[in-house]
């Protein structure tokens, strides 16, 4: 789109279609709609890396019910766009988490939940611990040990704000 908007209809049909698609992707009503859609279908991978998983489960349970916010844990990584690193990751687990993250389709986000995932927590000086930001691009940090389900809900809502703020980059370019 470096040529400017007026030159969309230049070239053969395939090129025109491609160009107009690129043009529409950046337009407000489309991005807004996509951001709204993504915001209410934030499906995290059901991957309990550690003990914060108990509070993650409590967050999905009837009292806090994060499904209200479109947050529904999913079994397979191929259908998800959010990974919540729930607490400590060891070397053995970090390799699995990274692999699951790589399998997720773009766009994807990461929430680091709990002190261990943020800064090592109480296990900070252990030889077997890796913190989340060392191997994943973390978007939101939720402190607590373990965080209350409300705090996780707040993390999810902050992530939604972030998605909405950066909605112009939401639709990936041609190459996946």
């Amino acid at each position: 789109m470096a040529d400017g908007e007026g030159l969309i209809f230049l070239g053969n049909l395939e090129e025109v279609a491609k160009k107009s698609l690129e043009y529409l992707k950046k337009k407000e009503p489309i991005t807004k709609m996509v951001s709204w859609g993504v915001n209410f279908s934030l499906w995290p991978v059901h991957l309990m890396t550690s003990c914060c998983g108990a509070e993650f489960a409590a967050a999905a349970s009837p009292r806090f019910d994060l499904e209200r916010l479109g947050f529904l844990p999913f079994g397979g990584p191929r259908q998800t766009n959010l990974i919540v690193v729930e607490g400590t990751t060891t070397w053995k687990m970090a390799r699995v988490v990274r692999r699951v993250y790589d399998q997720m389709p773009a766009p994807k986000w990461v929430i680091a939940m709990g002190a261990c995932a943020m800064d090592g927590g109480i296990f900070w000086d252990s030889y077997n611990i890796v913190v989340a930001r060392d191997y994943l691009p973390v978007d939101v940090y939720v402190p607590g040990c373990p965080p209350r389900p409300e705090a996780l809900a707040r993390g999810v809502m902050m992530l939604k704000e972030k998605i909405d703020r950066e909605r112009s980059n939401l639709i990936p370019s041609e190459q996946r």
């Binding site: 943020m118 800064d119 940090y141």
Partner: protein
């Protein structure tokens, strides 16, 4: 084995079982017991001893470093106190005495065990009542001393404050906070 009175179990007839399970399910369909907290609109006011975010009372603190010593994840660091009460700033390292040090907590590493509260000989820590915060990047959760002194802001100010109470019908009920 002093008492070997193992219990005999009774299995339920499948037809009766299915009917009773369906009946129970139907009962909860017409008469649902919702215990959900509508989170951003309603927020919980927790019991006074709940262990959430906290600050330190600058006037009470004597800078003894006990909290730094007991902190299990070493989230507390004692830093030279730069700002004095009147608001004027003294250069770092000025006044080498014990009383010039103050604790600062790394929220990313704190595990909210409140050992620091209990070891403090002058009871200088103050709970803030806030328990649900989140951060966008890893710089945000390491406050400076000035930032740490201000209690964290409650995220949803306009929300309805509720406290939980036991409810005979749905387990957890909510009533407006006093």
């Amino acid at each position: 084995m002093s008492e070997s009175s193992a219990k005999e179990r009774k299995l339920r007839n499948p037809i009766v079982g299915h009917i009773r399970a369906l009946a129970k399910g139907f009962k909860y369909l017409v008469e649902p017991n919702r215990m959900t907290l509508d989170y951003p609109a309603e927020t919980m006011k927790l019991p006074p001893n709940y262990r959430g975010f906290f600050t330190v009372d600058d006037k009470k603190c004597i800078g003894c470093s006990m909290c730094e010593m007991i902190c299990p994840p070493q989230a507390i660091t004692m830093i030279p106190r730069v700002q004095v009460q009147s608001g004027q700033t003294v250069p770092e390292g000025a006044g080498q005495g014990k009383k010039t040090k103050r604790p600062v907590v790394n929220w990313g590493r704190c595990i909210y065990c409140y050992f620091c509260f209990d070891i403090c000989p002058v009871d200088a820590f103050v709970p803030s009542g806030v328990h649900d915060l989140a951060f966008y990047n890893d710089k945000d959760y390491r406050p400076s001393y000035e930032e740490y002194l201000k209690p964290p802001e409650e995220p949803y100010k306009n929300s309805k404050k509720v406290v939980s109470r036991p409810d005979l019908k749905r387990g957890v009920g909510y009533e407006p906070a006093p």
